[in-house]
Symmetry: C7
Subunit: 225 residues, 7 copies
Amino acid sequence: MAVPESGGRMPYFYTPEGRLAQVDFALQAVGRGSTTIGLKSKEFAIISSQVKPTRSLLEPAEKIFEIDEHVGATGSGYIGDVNTLIDELRLAAQRHRLVYDTPIDMVTLSRGLSQYLHSFTMYTVRPFGASIILAGADELGIQLVQIDPSGTNFKGSGFVIGQYADEALEAIKTGYRPDMTVEQAIALNTTAIEGVNGGKSQIEHGVVRANTKRFERLALAAVEG
Amino acid sequence: MAVPESGGRMPYFYTPEGRLAQVDFALQAVGRGSTTIGLKSKEFAIISSQVKPTRSLLEPAEKIFEIDEHVGATGSGYIGDVNTLIDELRLAAQRHRLVYDTPIDMVTLSRGLSQYLHSFTMYTVRPFGASIILAGADELGIQLVQIDPSGTNFKGSGFVIGQYADEALEAIKTGYRPDMTVEQAIALNTTAIEGVNGGKSQIEHGVVRANTKRFERLALAAVEG
Amino acid sequence: MAVPESGGRMPYFYTPEGRLAQVDFALQAVGRGSTTIGLKSKEFAIISSQVKPTRSLLEPAEKIFEIDEHVGATGSGYIGDVNTLIDELRLAAQRHRLVYDTPIDMVTLSRGLSQYLHSFTMYTVRPFGASIILAGADELGIQLVQIDPSGTNFKGSGFVIGQYADEALEAIKTGYRPDMTVEQAIALNTTAIEGVNGGKSQIEHGVVRANTKRFERLALAAVEG
Amino acid sequence: MAVPESGGRMPYFYTPEGRLAQVDFALQAVGRGSTTIGLKSKEFAIISSQVKPTRSLLEPAEKIFEIDEHVGATGSGYIGDVNTLIDELRLAAQRHRLVYDTPIDMVTLSRGLSQYLHSFTMYTVRPFGASIILAGADELGIQLVQIDPSGTNFKGSGFVIGQYADEALEAIKTGYRPDMTVEQAIALNTTAIEGVNGGKSQIEHGVVRANTKRFERLALAAVEG
Amino acid sequence: MAVPESGGRMPYFYTPEGRLAQVDFALQAVGRGSTTIGLKSKEFAIISSQVKPTRSLLEPAEKIFEIDEHVGATGSGYIGDVNTLIDELRLAAQRHRLVYDTPIDMVTLSRGLSQYLHSFTMYTVRPFGASIILAGADELGIQLVQIDPSGTNFKGSGFVIGQYADEALEAIKTGYRPDMTVEQAIALNTTAIEGVNGGKSQIEHGVVRANTKRFERLALAAVEG
Amino acid sequence: MAVPESGGRMPYFYTPEGRLAQVDFALQAVGRGSTTIGLKSKEFAIISSQVKPTRSLLEPAEKIFEIDEHVGATGSGYIGDVNTLIDELRLAAQRHRLVYDTPIDMVTLSRGLSQYLHSFTMYTVRPFGASIILAGADELGIQLVQIDPSGTNFKGSGFVIGQYADEALEAIKTGYRPDMTVEQAIALNTTAIEGVNGGKSQIEHGVVRANTKRFERLALAAVEG
Amino acid sequence: MAVPESGGRMPYFYTPEGRLAQVDFALQAVGRGSTTIGLKSKEFAIISSQVKPTRSLLEPAEKIFEIDEHVGATGSGYIGDVNTLIDELRLAAQRHRLVYDTPIDMVTLSRGLSQYLHSFTMYTVRPFGASIILAGADELGIQLVQIDPSGTNFKGSGFVIGQYADEALEAIKTGYRPDMTVEQAIALNTTAIEGVNGGKSQIEHGVVRANTKRFERLALAAVEG
């Protein structure tokens, strides 16, 4: 009982158990977002996000965003929050080019987003209700990073956020091969997303490759072809 | 019980379920507004809004607004909130002309409104109690966008907000034809609004056409004629 | 029960039904003010406000205010709030003359007051507890506008605010003639106000005429004469 | 029950009945102050305030204040609040002389105090717990104004604030003669104050005359002589 | 019940009875301070304060403070609050000398402290928990002023604040003679303080004389001698 | 019941009894700190503080701090709060040397700390949870001052703060001799601290002597030798 | 009951027992972090932190951070909080080099972090939910410091924070030898961490040596080799 009380009234403070209730609640918002996957091999990184089935006459929402030539991002959670974070990332990338005249590296980009998200857990009324997956290529090669509402970031070869994230992650872990091709990765992500969402889904993908250091959103048609 | 408590006291924070209660409540305010429809074909976009039946001696409220030569808007929810958002849109369009000497494009216009609305969910005492539909023509052709109190925006060919939105949307989805004429679209919107509001209604319409790239409010008489 | 709770504690936030409780409560304050009427024909607009019966030795409060040569206003609700809004209107009219060297038009004047009132529903501790009726003459002719605590404004030919507004409005709607004279309008307003307030009342009137574009407060004696 | 709750917690907001509870409570503070009267004829205005019976060794508090050569004031309520308002009035009068090189007129002076008091009902933690009566002479002749904690001001020929204000007002209304002399007015005020406070009271008086346009505090001895 | 509730939660606001609860509570803090007396004749003013019996190895706290050559002060209540007010007084006196090159007069000094204390009842979290008695000599002769937590100031010939103030005041009122000598006044204050505190007390005294216009703290020994 | 309520919610305000609850609670924090003693004779002042028994591998916390060449300090309460206050004292001493080129005197130093602590009771969320004892030598000789969370300071020859302060003070009062030597004072403090803490304790001492005007921390070994 | 109430509502204030509830709760957050150890001999300091077992496809989080050439750090608690503190430390070290052109000493570095953490207990909505262990080499030799959420810092030869800290500390205390080698220290830390976490764990280590004054993170492989 103590937890919802504490949570409902002054949710930024710690609960007696030492938990930041609002950050936990924000993660619940992420958990209602569309299933979203990031996958990385040495040669490329793929980000894929289910485009939630929309009614007719409604264009599907954009789920894969180019941050800069060499970085893409996707997210899950409150759409308004995801979009604001994407804007922050694009601004950070442009500022870096203006100041240093070089593409932003993935550590600077993801650490900056972490700090931005973290500051909202210390100073403001609510943390962001969104997690972000970044896929990029820099001097250190292909990189895949997930950043949470608390500002925590994770590096790895496979991430799933959003609805049914745990189940989809199982599929990814089982199907992952370090030497897979882009096409195989897309197929794996597609299978994982469709598996947990009950069949045929519209999915957007984006890919960044080690050899070109270019991020590109994949046309939906191109994927199916 | 925990939810209204939490909602009533510090409504900006997340509920334990990870929902932003005030944004949900603001959508309720939108749901009490007059039934308002946006429809798009390749050649034009129509926005139509029921003018709530008013008592005698009272002029019906303006529901269709010209934002700039090439963009119109309508909204549903608290009238004071709708009007303030319309002002914001007009200012954004004028500023763009002043700075860049070109008409504002629909992405910049709608994204700006999204950010404006979103900031009210992060920093202030309440989100706006209004949703907006934008209809405009730019380099990318005819565009129709709906923006919600959370700052989320949607693109599509058909939107309904306000009272009985769900029922009216069904009528729109059934009657929509990609190759319809402006007159047919007006008739469809009229039917949909009158169908859910129990017969003959006063409705304002606005149209923007691909060939002229001009938005015009349609005189009520012209519609009936 | 949830509504007064929510209303009593953090009244600026939405109730679960999506209502702005403090704005609703502020309207209650307006509903306790003196019965106040605005009436418009093509040739003139009349604003009339009951001067609440005062004890001896007390001068009746001024209820009809000249905003500028061509605009008058009246209001109902908390007197301190009405007076502050009248000051805002006068300032706006003077500023307009200083900057543009022309009399302020009614749309600019009423829209400015709307924005002022609306901002108090978004940023401050309470909305104003007063509604205003503006009567003026500009390039578009005679205009009559009512502005509410939420910042909503209405145009029309007949408005009643304050105590017994609904009953008095019925009398106005029944008695209204588009071609009535100023004298007939004054008589109608007087009848409506006295009808709901139980007989002989002291009433202040103000009139703006299309031909002179001048607003004038009518001396109490002149009315009775 | 709902009203004290609402009042006790966030008293600046409206109660569900549309009342500003703190302003009402502040008026209660005024109602505990010493009985204070303002009286006006064409030739003069008198302000009189009971000096609450003090214990021996304590000088009676000053109750009649000169604001400027041509204006005097008195007040009832929290002494600290009355004094702060008197300071505001004196500052306003001096500023006016500095800027315009003329004595401040009564409308500017009383309207300024109204705005000052009103702003404390919109932006701060509590309204002032004091009402003020101003007596002055300007181009428009002798003027008498009462200003309340809400910033409302009243003009008239007779005001009573403070303890037993209603009863004392009855005495004033009965005894008032438009053509009375200063001495008769002082006698009337004295009778009214002593009548409600149970006999012989120490009373301070101040008078401003039309012919001299000078305000003067009357020595206690002079009154009794 | 309503009063402590209201008082405990948002104590700056008025109670329904129109009382400023925190100011009342602050007076309770003063009522726990050491018994402190001010006495005035035409020739001198004496301030005397019991030095609360302290344990061995602890120096008695200073209770009589020189503010400037011609003014002394004492206080009762929270020691930290008294000291801060003494600092304010000393600063005001020094500032006055710097700006006007004359000793500060008692009205300016006491009115400034009143305003300082009053502002804490309007803008901050708590009023000061201390009352001050000022004894000084200026152009108007010997003056004695008491200032309360609300910013109210009193002038008179005899004041008592702190513990058992009412009882001690009775003794002062009985024993007071307008033509007493400094020695007699000291004896009277001593008797009054010891009478209410149960016998032999350590008491600090300060005196300001009309002829010298000098304030001096009296050495404890000098008193007993 | 009323007191903890009031204390738990808006603890800076006065309780109905006129107490500052948070200051009282902060003193409880001091009462949990390590037993700490200050002792003064004409020739020297000693400050001694028990170093709470620590586990192996942990260095005992420093309890005696040099503020400047001629002043030392110790404290009891929250370690983070004590350290911040020590920093404030060191800064004040250095600033004084920079501005006046003389060592800071004890009145200026202790009064400054009092003001710093007092301001936290008026303007911020919590008072400091620490008391400080200062021992120094200046033009007025050896001085010993204790400053409490409320900003109150005490001068004397013997102080005890922290755990079992009352019992230890009894021992100090009994054993104190005005003509004791530094060694006897150290022995007395040691006995007092060990007596209330159940035997052999690690104790840090610091001494300032009248002849050298130098403060020195005593090495633990030197004490035992 | 009083404590969680007080804690849940205004957790920054003291509880009636004089405890800072939020600081206590923040320590609970630290107690859920990964088991983390610091060990010091005269020749070196080792910091070791369990890398919480992660799922496949996820890179283990970095737990050992180089702050500067001669200082390393590790932490336990909320990852976002730990990372922000590490950033603060790195900035402080860089600033010191820029301003003084020398490596920062351990006292300045750890005291700065203490002040930073302490300020969050006085001025902001929550203290950091993380403790930090610093290992460095400066003019005073090898130093090991632990800093808590309250800003308290400890010096010593052995610290354990995070999950099962008490149990792991027992193992450290038993196994610690002042003359052990780096390899023996790593083995001891490994045993202690694995002992409380139920067997084979992935552990990161960092070492700073007295002779080189260099901090280096140890490759995981190097440890196992």
